[in-house]
């Protein structure tokens, strides 16, 4: 009887430690992703004047509604980009849809207080509005939506030599 009790205790202990390990790994992965998002935001704001709050819709439609196959074909890309990098698979579209759907409006200045080129003025023609970037393909690629006075569309980034670089853009609308 005592032996059986000991066995049960051991199983419970093993389960407890496994849970801790899984939970630690999930937290680590999530924190890695947040770090990547922060790095991407630095890249974006280095080149653009960005509104300080993120967007979750454009033209009165949620961003995830623009994640359609024909709207995710990237035809304008950096010269050295191979066709596989710019191609978003069906599975990735499903993944990105769920990620964009779950995004909330966040303040970029609170997410990363070091970000430069943030503006609280909406009506300037150079101001751009962006979603939070979503990292995918084993943290090697990222995508975000942006719009300005003249158009809106998705922007694709790739991590190269530990640096994020814009590699492709497309259009959802253009004026």
């Amino acid at each position: 009887m005592e032996n059986q009790m000991q066995k049960v205790r051991n199983v419970i202990k093993a389960l407890f430690f496994s849970l801790i390990l899984i939970s630690c790994s999930t937290i680590k992965k999530s924190s890695e992703k947040t770090d990547e998002v922060r790095k991407i935001l630095v890249t974006i704001t280095n080149y653009n004047m960005v509104y300080y709050k993120t967007i979750v819709q454009d033209l009165k439609k949620p961003i995830e509604s623009y994640l359609k196959n024909y709207l995710l074909k990237f035809e304008l890309c950096s010269k050295d980009i191979d066709s596989n990098s710019r191609k978003i698979s069906k599975e990735e579209i499903t993944f990105l849809k769920s990620k964009f759907k779950n995004q909330n409006i966040v303040r970029l200045d609170r997410l990363n207080p070091k970000l430069e080129n943030l503006t609280k003025t909406k009506g300037k023609s150079k101001t751009s509005f962006i979603t939070l970037p979503i990292v995918f393909r084993n943290n090697s690629m990222a995508i975000y939506y942006s719009y300005t006075a003249n158009g809106g569309g998705f922007n694709l980034l790739q991590k190269r030599n530990n640096k994020w670089e814009h590699i492709c853009s497309n259009t959802v609308w253009i004026e």
Binding site: T43, Y70, L76, K79, S128, Y147
Partner: protein
């Protein structure tokens, strides 16, 4: 004897068992991948299905183009691809691609080419699986299967390599070359009933049939002509805007006052060229309230839709603006659609090469796509202006049309390079026409 009876019964059963066309379509959509057959259309002509009995099996043959479209005056041979569906020995439906090649058109007078008709034709018949692997090649001469064994391969001809070369062992065997040209011509149907051929594109494919059971050679060429009407969908539901679009589609009558430009001429030509290499891309015009973006009034917007592009003209512009400015906005948006069309369908064109070079400058900016478009269009402001001049019967100076055409291109370096006074003059002209002010030179819709 009994075995024979069973076999014949089995054959009879196979011949009699039918396959619903809907089932073939469904299986085709699931299994057929265009990447393996880039030279074939995405879908065969389902309404042209034929049923043949070949070697005791019932085959459903669906051609990829109408054999009547072969231009007999230009062809020396006949080529045709079909999807064939049949039930295999396990009673499972199988799909193959079958390719017919009649090397000499003189020996073929029929209007159909099927597995049944090979009995009376001199023809090569090749079967392929849906990954374009050759399953079987047979040659029938006057209805009898040739004893020669042929191999077939697709040939990528490099037209730059015209220098003579020594024949390989294979080339000393009998080689019959099949050349197949698809001439796709796009035409516009004018309202007066006249037809204008806009552009013709040619796709070339070559296959070689070799047999080392003999020597010799022959080349046959098949020319297939497809004529496709360009589609522009008018969903404007506004008589004034509809008339503007109608006039923009008309041919220009006087080109002498506009500068000679390359690549882009009058809008009608531009719109038509837009669709000159695909039947699946339409251009829809509509009116809707576009409101403001970043504090700027949006006059027009171009969006990709599933089967082409949609251009929306702002309701307020149609109500308050002049016809001239509405026409200018339609031209501007059509140019966006034209550029997008080229990006999507013509990646190796000079236009796309230019766009890609421009894009490298802007790629890190959030509006890099629109910056690239507008920078490119800034180089063609003369073409946009000449199109507007033709629409307006040259009632004003070309300079005035050019000023209006700068509208929406303010981010371009060509516009930025203009003097401050010129920019002010341009913006004043734009505001006058856009808001239908008393200083506007154009007439209002209402």
């Amino acid at each position: 004897m009994l075995w024979n009876c069973e076999k014949e019964e089995g054959l009879e059963k196979n011949i009699n068992s039918s396959i619903p066309i809907e089932q073939i379509k469904k299986q085709f959509n699931q299994e057929f991948e265009t990447k393996f057959f880039p030279y074939l259309k995405k879908e065969p002509l389902w309404d042209k299905v034929e049923i043949s009995i070949y070697q005791g099996k019932k085959y459903y043959e669906i051609p990829f183009y109408d054999i009547q479209k072969i231009d007999r005056t230009k062809s020396t041979s006949v080529s045709l691809d079909k999807i064939v569906a049949f039930k295999n020995d396990n009673n499972i439906i199988e799909l193959n691609v079958i390719h017919f090649f009649v090397p000499k058109i003189n020996s073929f007078t029929s209007n159909t080419l099927s597995l049944e008709s090979i009995e009376t034709t001199d023809v090569f018949v090749s079967f392929y699986d849906l990954k374009n692997n050759v399953l079987d090649v047979k040659r029938y001469i006057n209805g009898k299967e040739s004893i020669k064994k042929y191999k077939v391969k697709e040939v990528e001809k490099d037209i730059n390599k015209l220098y003579p070369k020594m024949p390989t062992d294979e080339e000393t065997c009998e080689t019959i070359t099949e050349e197949w040209v698809t001439e796709t011509c796009y035409f516009w149907n004018y309202s007066d009933g006249s037809i204008e051929i806009i552009n013709c594109f040619y796709d070339y494919f070559t296959k070689e049939y070799t047999s080392c059971d003999g020597t010799g050679g022959y080349t046959g060429e098949t020319v297939v002509r497809e004529e496709l009407e360009v589609q522009i969908i008018d969903s404007l539901n506004n008589v004034c805007a509809e008339n503007i679009l109608k006039k923009l589609k008309e041919k220009g009558s006087d080109y002498s006052v506009v500068p000679k430009l390359t690549n882009v001429n009058h809008l009608s030509q531009t719109i038509l060229d837009l669709f000159s290499s695909s039947t699946t891309h339409n251009l829809t015009f509509r009116i809707d309230q576009l409101g403001f973006s970043n504090g700027n009034r949006v006059n027009g917007r171009t969006e990709p839709v599933n089967n082409g592009w949609q251009i929306t003209i702002d309701t307020d512009l149609v109500e308050k603006g002049t016809k001239l400015f509405i026409a200018k906005t339609m031209i501007h948006e059509t140019m966006h659609a034209y550029i997008n069309f080229n990006l999507k369908t013509n990646a190796t064109s000079d236009l796309v090469t230019d766009l890609n070079s421009i894009y490298q400058k802007f790629k890190s900016q959030n509006n890099s796509f629109s910056l690239t478009h507008h920078e490119f269009m800034g180089e063609y402001v003369d073409a946009l202006a000449s199109s507007l001049a033709i629409y307006d019967d040259n009632n004003h100076s070309l300079e005035y049309y050019k000023m209006l055409s700068w509208g929406g291109l303010e981010t371009s370096s060509a516009y930025q390079a203009l003097s401050s006074s010129k920019k002010t003059e341009i913006q004043n002209a734009i505001i006058n026409e856009r808001d239908g002010k008393s200083n506007a030179k154009g007439e209002k819709c209402n």
